[in-house]
Amino acid sequence: MDELEAVCETDVGDEALLEHEFEARMVESGSLAFRVAYGVLRHREDAEDVAQEALARAYRDFKKLRDRERFRAWLVRISWRLALDHRRGGKRRELREQGVAADPVPGPGVEETTAANEFRAPLWRAIDALPEKLRAVVVLAGIEGYDTHEVALLLGLPDGTVKSRLHAARRRLAEVFR
């Protein structure tokens, strides 16, 4: 009986530690999950919904994650996949396209914002037309603070592969606007 109670107490303690660890990682990486989803959907509400779902799924399987240091990469992949599924589902496609024009770049005036949107909309159409492998690299590299090495870590790819994919993606985009 005492052994059983001890095991239960240990389980409860482990559960609490796991909860705390996940909460800390969620605060740390939640924004990244949102940005990844936003890079696919470019609709704030949809991206938040997808990112929250990604966090919920990550929580459910957090015990199974052997290397907790890989949490960010794991969460990015979940969020990316969910965002693609959401996008394929075609939900709120019209709202998302309106959202491209509705999300202004913070700072510049109205005229500059309009000019930026005139460039941004076809840019994202070109990005959406990229193959998924290239698109993932472009989006992750576009998130502030992530260089090629970090993108490689997030995607679980060698640095050279990420560099070549990023180069190919940028080349295609430049060719579109040339």
Binding site: S31, A47, L123
Partner: protein, 239 residues
């Protein structure tokens, strides 16, 4: 190198690629290709800036609380349908079946294989019928017929003919007959006389009563003067 060949490698050079000696030589000689290279570099820089600016979006303040709420809602230990309502229903059904099986088993073990008709001793019902108006009944004497079943055959319900308003007295008489404790004074003072077969087991007093004649309807004709007789005296006179 000509401008066409340089143009095919322009984008790679703008993306940071290294220029070959031929490309360096062409760039130094061709102002138009230098401008094109600068334009391409600016374009690529703008693409990078636009992508970064597009993704420079922070989630709302409610993002994390909502995420926590979703996690709590989705991942909380929920009661399954079985644990929620199916388990009590199943338990009740199983208990009912178990009790039924126990009762069936008990009956099958206690009772013999062939059924035996058992009739619980119950109080025979009393039917009250008014006396037929066509028969002249003495004013103070009411004839009552009581039939009792034999000991062997199933019980035969007694039949009591009672005039309206005399039910209580007849009920006392019937109880007395049923429990073999007739108090003759009780019903004689109420103005009744008992007539019945041997099975009624009222013994001597009733045997004496039976000697009086009856009319066509079987009603015992009781002489007017006999009304105050005590049944015990009737029994003695009969014996």
């Amino acid at each position: 190198m000509k401008c066409e060949g340089f143009g095919r490698l322009l984008t790679d050079l703008a993306l940071g690629g290294s220029a070959s000696p031929e490309m360096e030589s062409h760039l130094s000689d061709c102002a138009r290709c230098r401008v094109a290279l600068e334009d391409q570099r600016r374009l690529i820089s703008r693409i990078d800036e636009e992508i970064a600016a597009s993704l420079d979006v922070a989630p709302s303040l409610e993002f994390l609380p909502k995420a926590s709420l979703r996690i709590a809602r989705q991942c909380a230990p929920t009661r399954s349908a079985f644990r929620g309502w199916l388990l009590p229903v199943t338990a009740v059904a199983a208990g009912t079946i178990l009790v039924g099986l126990c009762l069936w088993w008990r009956r099958s073990t206690v009772l013999p294989s062939h059924p035996i008709a058992v009739k619980a001793p119950s109080a025979p019902p009393i039917t009250f019928q008014p006396s037929p108006p066509s028969v002249p009944v003495p004013r103070a004497v009411v004839t009552t017929r009581i039939k009792r079943a034999s000991r062997v055959t199933p019980l035969v319900e007694p039949e009591v003919l009672v005039p309206p308003g005399a039910e209580e007295a007849v009920r006392c008489l019937a109880e007395g007959l049923r429990y073999h404790s007739v108090d003759p004074a009780r019903f004689l003072t109420a103005g009744f006389v008992v007539v019945g077969p041997e099975e009624a087991r009222v013994n001597a007093p009733l045997e004496a009563v039976r000697q009086f004649p009856t009319d066509l309807n079987g009603t015992r004709l009781w002489p007017e003067e006999a009304r105050p007789l005590n049944l015990e005296q009737v029994g003695r006179s009969a014996s």
